[in-house]
Symmetry: C2
């Protein structure tokens, strides 16, 4: 969606919106941390995010990657910065193509900072001299695909402080296609507002998005103001100087000062705020909270679907996914990125035939061996493994190989049953409770437009010991309303599903709409997920030395246990799915893993399904 | 679906199935009556129906039309008879093409009866001599598209009674592609069963479908037996002779005799019965009831969808329709017959852009002017019109211009509200009550596979006087959960629907399936229906002489009243939709219609929506 349309909507409805700017971090770990932060900051509800241009080599590739990730994985409407500095036409072409392929439709076209070693900036051979050249070029190549923003300088820019010349340039940039203006940071709201008046007087009518720099520390505050040559009101200096050595106090006081500035901007009728986050969340969130612009604690973010939508190319209409990747959103997006069409309305008719190979994508286990060993310890018995699952469900462990993020409040109503299963060695991978028509505004289960009702069928997916599989399947098959799929690592599949067709396990009924059914269970995608699930476990095993008990243990589970999913199709039942497991428990939970296969109780399949009661 | 597959399923499950044979009636009224009868006989649950070949001219065209109607409108799996008698190859080609286009996939290939004037039958130039030639030809032209049945003669046929020769012919017909055998009628079950043994001994293994002729009257019984040269057991003659002048007694006794014969057939392991209905329902139904093969009173027929599915070409997967044609199934099928694809799973993605023109199809008012005047009288005031609607809802009137069939039990829970509306001059065209998840086996609202739950949003469509429209719309718009469309004859549309997208008003949730949403409300199809609705009213007006008060009255309604549909999107509400109309009543209900426009109260729109309280 074009930023200009979001801004127009904000001005029309008089409801302020805000956006976040990020820059490409210098290290791989920094990138990962930033992604996690962007993911969490999605819940604050930004209208869009900006990713600055990392001039030169791998830094510019990182900008492209970040735009793609923000847009497709985290579903953030993203604006890519693009500068002329040191940019050949080919590089501009590559960047635009990459943005296009990512589903990005917004560019902030900048001239860019001059490289430090040169006094005066010069266009490279075949490159662009002014931002307006870039705007013209993007329009010529992509028509109206990209919405193009341009920079505004209320207090002048590095090599040009003459406001007459700057105003003329601004007008030219807008005249050739710029549809909104993002300003440099400032701390003096009077300067900004009088500049806005001048811009309007000059005949420039597009929305102006003020750049807001929250205050993280006193030192950074001063450094940035100096670097940007922006004026600091005496009041701010007076307020911050006495507490400059206490970062917490500085942030607290800074929050008040910045929020006061924002309020004046909003009161002046400007309904958008652009935050220079400096890749940090706290100071920005504090300002937004002070301004009462974030969802209240306990109030649900207005979720469009139960899972985070992608804004990737051709993905905006996507509204159906298999449940299996519920806790592995990124991997699902990666493994389906080559699809031409995405399921829309229902699974059946739009899905491409194949999931991407595991190795080709970002679908393996995150983190280094050391990090993972630290996180998950060195399990030496099934009990140790089971306890990891229990601790995850208790909220004491932030991730498992099969779950990228901590357990959510959705599991609350079935948490004790899930914990009981795992204590008995029935290792739960994914689950959802049944929901029989709660309002779409429900704080835990709600999603979609107001005035609707949402539903879920109870679902559980587990790793099941070969000791128990026969008995479990016999029990499932005695139930009229349960359907299951059970598969081994090598793909031998058993199911009682009535047909190849998908089973909708989450759906919603809304005023004036067809039924929305965003989550399904289905054979082919379960088999694709199976590969990933066993692969993740094997990756985990490989974190430990080859001859270690931990590796033996985990590999043995991966080699012999079943991956089973179960749906209770009667969504009026709340806990029936758990009674399937009554008195089921894995034997020898405490037996230490040993290197001798034959003596290792937990990996010898017992064909007749012997049950420990 | 191929008959051979249905027969195989019946034999596998040991559950007897039955089929009905119809022939092309001689008069247009006869055709209409037969269609109505076929429609009702659908509810008995036949595995398929046969339509005999009307040799010569318009009679063969009528066979093709009947096959098309049975298949596409009534959703009956149909088998078309095709004979060689007097048939040039071109006519065979035409008939096969027509059957193919109708979605028919079963042919009974017959040599046919010799024309009466010739002693000995001769193939026409370029035609076929034997049924097996026809079988071969159909296989060569259509491969496996058509399942092909052939005739068997347990007591010989007209010009050949030598069982050795007949058996040889039968074997040849099966060898070249016949997959099932339908026998001539018989009354002596011992003859039939010993013939079956001979067929099997001859190495013919395809299913044999015995032809059963129920007894309608004594005279017809004897005539048909004589004509078919079939043996009547003495017991039958003894039982029927004493009561031969009492048709009712004959049918009653005949029912017992035929049912006894059928039981012996079933006991011998033959799981299919083919009834020569002679285009009558009663005697056949009596036999089926005696055999306990029909759904019990009050037991729902196992409805696949809330509306009758079509089995027309490319239509077998169709499972979404607009609600507007709920009472005009035939017209909907006709107006969409040129679509390449039919909505499947959801409305959005499969619909062709256009509905067929009204005039081009069978979408006008049924019946002659005289019949309609007799049916609906000569209304001279709005009260008279309103009373017709009230009588229809009370079950005292079998049809209205907008409803081809009598009101169904579905309306029971909202009948008194509907009657109250119509008494006040708010003329209801279609409606459905809300249903908040009843079992799919529910006797009134149920449809779809067992183990599911079905839902409906309350829906009502009415003709609304211009006096009341503004007030009604104002009331609807005050409700958070109501969506409406209001349109005039000339197409001026008002709506509060949130988007162009369809609104699912009926849906079902079933084990192991995506959500099924068979009925929707949507703009474009409502506009297509609007044309039909006003056209039907105008057709009705034209039943009356040009200067008559009735014509003036009805035309005036058509020219000035609004067609309005309303959905209560909160399907938890059972009667909220009716509170919209509290104290609304059309003025001057009793004012006689007059020829002077200006003095005629009911057709002068009152812009400010004056309300009679």
């Amino acid at each position: 969606m074009h930023i200009k349309d979001k801004l127009a909507e904000a001005e029309r409805s008089r409801k302020p919106v805000f956006s976040f700017e990020f820059f490409p971090p210098k290290t791989a770990q920094g990138v990962q941390n930033l992604y996690d932060r962007m993911d969490r900051m999605h819940d604050l509800g930004p209208a869009f995010v900006d990713v600055t241009w990392g001039a030169g080599g791998s830094r510019s590739e990182l900008t492209c990657e970040m735009v793609n990730t923000a847009q497709t994985i985290y579903g953030l409407e993203t604006c890519m910065h693009l500068t002329c500095t040191d940019m050949e036409k080919q590089k501009v072409d590559d960047a635009l193509k990459s943005a296009y392929s990512a589903g990005c439709s917004n560019i902030l076209a900048l001239r860019g900072d001059p490289p430090r070693e040169n006094e005066k900036w010069q266009a490279v051979e075949g490159g662009f001299q002014y931002a307006q050249d870039l705007v013209k070029y993007i329009k010529a190549r992509y028509g109206d695909h990209f919405d193009i923003g341009v920079a505004g300088y209320p207090e002048g820019c590095d090599d040009q402080r003459d406001q007459e010349i700057l105003m003329k340039h601004l007008k030219e940039k807008v005249d050739v296609g710029g549809t909104f203006i993002v300003t440099q940071m400032f701390y003096d709201v009077e300067i900004f507002l009088s500049w806005v008046e001048k811009v309007r007087a000059y005949g420039i009518t597009v929305p102006i998005v003020p750049g807001i720099m929250p205050i993280q520390t006193h030192a950074a505050f001063l450094r940035r103001a100096t670097w940007s040559k922006c004026h600091i009101p005496q009041k701010w200096l007076d307020a911050l100087e006495p507490i400059k050595n206490d970062d917490a106090q500085v942030r607290e006081a800074g929050k008040g000062l910045v929020a006061e500035m924002c309020r004046k901007i909003i009161d002046a009728g400007i309904m958008q705020l652009h935050f220079y986050t400096m890749n940090l969340a706290q100071a920005t969130r504090m300002v937004l909270e002070e301004l009462d612009l974030v969802p209240k604690d306990g109030t649900p973010t207005n979720r469009v679907l139960p899972w985070r939508q992608s804004l990737g190319l051709n993905r905006r209409e996507e509204d159906v996914r298999p449940i299996f990747w519920k806790n592995r959103n990124k991997s699902y997006v990666a493994r389906t990125q080559d699809w031409d069409e995405f399921p829309n309305g229902r699974w059946g008719d739009a899905r491409s035939p194949a999931f991407g190979e595991l190795d080709a994508y970002d679908s393996g286990l995150k983190g280094t061996n050391e990090q993972n060993m630290k996180l998950w310890g060195k399990p030496e018995s099934l009990r140790d493994v089971a306890n990891l699952f229990v601790r995850f469900l208790e909220g004491k462990l932030q991730s498992l190989p099969w779950s990228e993020a901590a357990v959510t409040s959705e599991a609350e109503t079935i948490r004790s049953e899930l914990i009981s299963l795992n204590r008995r060695g029935l290792l739960t991978i994914t689950s959802q409770p049944s929901v029989n028509g709660v309002k779409s505004t429900h704080p835990v289960h709600g999603w979609g437009p107001k005035g609707g009702y949402v539903y879920q069928k109870a679902y559980i997916e587990l790793l099941i010991s070969p000791q128990l599989i026969s008995e479990l399947i016999a029990r499932i098959e005695r139930q009229a309303n349960m359907t299951y799929y059970a598969v081994t690592k090598d793909g031998s599949l058993r199911t009682n599903a009535p047909s190849e067709s998908p089973n909708a396990v989450t759906w919603g009924v809304f005023p004036g709409k067809e039924i929305v059914q965003p989550t399904i269970v289905e054979t082919l995608s379960f088999l694709a997920w199976k590969d990933e699930a066993y692969h993740l476990g094997t990756d985990w095993a490989k974190c430990y030395p080859a001859s270690s008990a931990s590796r033996q243990l985990i590999e043995s589970i991966m080699n012999t246990w079943y991956l089973v999913n179960i749906v209770d199709n009667d969504f009026h039942q709340t806990h029936a799915i758990f009674s399937l497991f009554e008195n089921l428990e894995v034997e020898d939970l405490d037996k230490p893993a040993m290197n001798d296969h034959r003596s290792n109780g937990f990996h010898s399949p017992i064909a007749n399904g012997e049950v420990h009661k």
